[in-house]
Amino acid sequence: MKILDRKTIKPGKFTYDPSLDNLPVSKVALEKAERARKFFEANPLPEHLHRK
């Protein structure tokens, strides 16, 4: 399907927040990453997608 209506994203402001530094990675994020790692082990990325 062709996308006929154009759309853009206007970025919001990005601000460094030191309170986000050195926090432990959340358990949920680690679990998701582990599932993804297993997915790519079972389904390696095709060579053409590895290219930059």
Binding site: R6, I9, P11, S26, K27, A29, L30, A33, A36, L45
Partner: protein
């Protein structure tokens, strides 16, 4: 032309953890995006709700805040920033359920214009990666820079 305004974002020194607030019909909710490496050139993206009073993260809570396009637009700007500071990397993400992945897909279709972005989104479907299309039910998404 339709323009989607992404939310303001704060980030950590490593550009690996980002926070923003979803502001919608049900109130204000803290969202966290975390990138975790899963291979030498792929990071997994986790989009989580953060409950400040309990200090708990969740990827299954349903906020139904009516602003999914703005949330996904914000996540796309975060991916853009992450890839700018981590050249050659790719980002993988999926929803915590098939229904949530479908919601992400709908929101991506609403806000993402492949011709107007330097990002390339591929979708995983039936064992194959194909360029993102609005009407295919993908199981996961891979994002990389076009160049």
């Amino acid at each position: 032309m339709k323009q989607y305004q992404a939310y303001p974002v704060t980030f950590d020194v490593e550009n690996a953890r980002f926070r923003f607030q979803s502001i919608g019909k049900r109130g204000v909710f803290d969202k966290i995006v975390e990138f975790i490496p899963i291979s030498p050139n792929i990071h997994n993206l986790a989009l989580l709700d953060y409950d400040l009073p309990t200090n708990k993260y969740s990827d299954i809570s349903v906020t139904d805040n009516g602003d999914m396009p703005e949330v996904i637009a914000t996540v796309i700007t975060i991916i853009q920033r992450f890839l700018d500071s981590n050249p050659g990397q790719k980002i993988y993400f999926e929803g915590s359920t098939a229904a949530r992945t479908r919601l992400y897909q709908i929101a991506i279709s609403q806000v993402f214009d492949p011709g107007d972005s330097d990002l390339l989104i591929e979708g995983y479907k039936d064992g194959q990666w194909v360029l993102f299309e609005p009407n295919i039910r993908f199981e996961g998404f891979l994002v990389k820079k076009k160049f």
